[in-house]
Amino acid sequence: MTRNALIARLVKYLPLLLLAMAWEGASRFELVSSSALPSLTKVAQAWWDLALGGDLVENGAASLWRLAAGLAIAIVVGAALGIGMAWWRPADIALGPLVEMFYPLPKSALIPVTALWLGFGDGSKILLIAMGCMLPVTLGAYNGARSSERVLVWSARSLGASKLRILRDVVLPSALPEMLSGIRTALAISFVLLVASELIVARAGLGYLIGFLGSNGTYDSMFAVVLTVAFMGFVADRMYLLIMRRALAWRD
């Protein structure tokens, strides 16, 4: 990294540093009650203890598994649905209105529903995330696939491509940019659904841990887990952007 890039990065994260300092100061000098906002150093200490005790790893692993499984289902089913609807008109006619109806539904409303169906374990969280994250992927894939240019399809046909080939070689790549944006939205929703459902009905997971620590009154530990989840969401988004940029390297 060049010197300028290093400085640019420092400047970028400066507001974060200032916020951390304000937090520490506000708590230390009792500008706010230290139980409502434990100082950052205390939170860091609590985080360290949680990490050493294994609580963080154990619950973190449970959460990550639910997230990954739910998202994987959402992406596979969502993309297939979106491209299928764009490609085959009867599917569009049959499923289009349903997609439009369920798209604006607040996904957290499904938490009790999935708990009723699959109980308190992993299954209900995975189903919730899969259902809640599917439609943004579907819409992205649908809009992207429908925007595939006529002349590209024509080119492929005149070069000897079969219908299935065109689906794979023209429609799918045309859908990719919008579909990948849809997946990014899904990624953000998945974290919301994960923590919300674990707070309400769960026996493991980071959301569960936040709720448990909060009701025990160990607020420094609770904040430590909250910050962990925030950091995980941030890292996941950054990593995803990196993948997305690489997959779309052909664009200018």
């Binding site: 080119s155 005149s158 390297a249 664009r251």
Partner: protein
């Protein structure tokens, strides 16, 4: 032998909204084996529509179009197409674009790579094989598209204003190179353009089309020796271009009036 017979073709263009428009009216035309034929006319005269019908992209509803006696049923690799806006696969590199048709042909790998290289060299794009279309200039994109189409060795080449989106200098260079490529290995070419000079320079016959609905107004023989470097300034070229411009002008004016400009 590859000839295209167009017999009394009418075509209705049906826009998503509004009334259908008669794009082609009773068009009959014989494209001869290995000739370079230009379809010339004002914009909106249906010349591109006629090309798309030959390509099999649009259905022939009234009349018939056949190649060597067989009616057209959809696109096929024996008819290569070059579009005005290149229509390269943006997610594929130049090499991958050129390889695409060769892969569909099921050629062995070595042969595919060798053929792709040959045609990339032919259009002067060696060194840019691994570039994506977004990294190329307009002229280079069209070179890549031409290489992709020629690589599958189609019997017929359908070109839809292929140099229309290029600047004047690039266009002149590409015209000369296309002519050289065609002379070296003649194919049946149908070349759509609204540029009189381009039509006279490239084609052996120029079909002048009338304003909407498109009809064949005249067919002019433009086959003479154009190999001299200053052919564009020769009296013969000038006379021929003037004559054709006279035919096109009326139609261009009609087309303008028709649009209420």
């Amino acid at each position: 032998m590859t000839t295209i017979s167009i017999d009394r073709v009418r075509h209705l263009y049906r826009p998503a909204r509004g009334r259908p428009v008669l794009a082609l009216e009773d068009v009959s035309l014989e494209v001869r084996d290995k000739e370079f034929l230009a379809l010339l006319g004002p914009s909106g005269c249906g010349k591109s529509t006629l090309l798309y019908l030959m390509g099999g992209f649009l259905p022939v509803e009234i009349g018939s179009i056949s190649i060597d006696g067989k009616p057209i049923a959809g696109p096929g690799p024996e008819r290569g197409v070059v579009f005005q806006h290149f229509a390269l696969f943006p997610w594929k590199t130049v090499r991958q674009n050129v390889l695409y048709g060769l892969e569909r042909k099921g050629l062995p790998r070595d042969e595919r790579e060798a053929t792709a290289k040959k045609f990339i060299d032919l259009v002067g794009l060696s060194g840019f094989e691994d570039n994506y279309p977004s990294q190329l200039s307009g002229g280079m994109k069209q070179r890549a598209a031409i290489a992709r189409t020629l690589a599958v060795d189609p019997a017929v080449l359908l070109m839809d204003e292929p140099f229309g989106a290029l600047d004047a200098q690039t266009r002149a260079l590409m015209q000369a190179e296309l002519l050289n490529i065609w002379r070296a290995s003649p194919k049946t070419v149908v070349f759509v353009t609204h540029d009189v000079q381009e039509a006279v320079y490239l084609a052996g016959r120029v079909v002048v089309m009338s304003a909407r609905p498109g009809k064949v107004k005249a067919i002019v023989d433009t086959d003479f020796d154009k190999t001299a470097p200053d052919v564009l300034r020769s009296p013969k070229f000038g006379d021929m271009a003037d004559h054709i411009w006279g035919l096109v002008k009326e139609e261009a004016i009609k087309a303008q009036m028709g649009r209420g400009v």
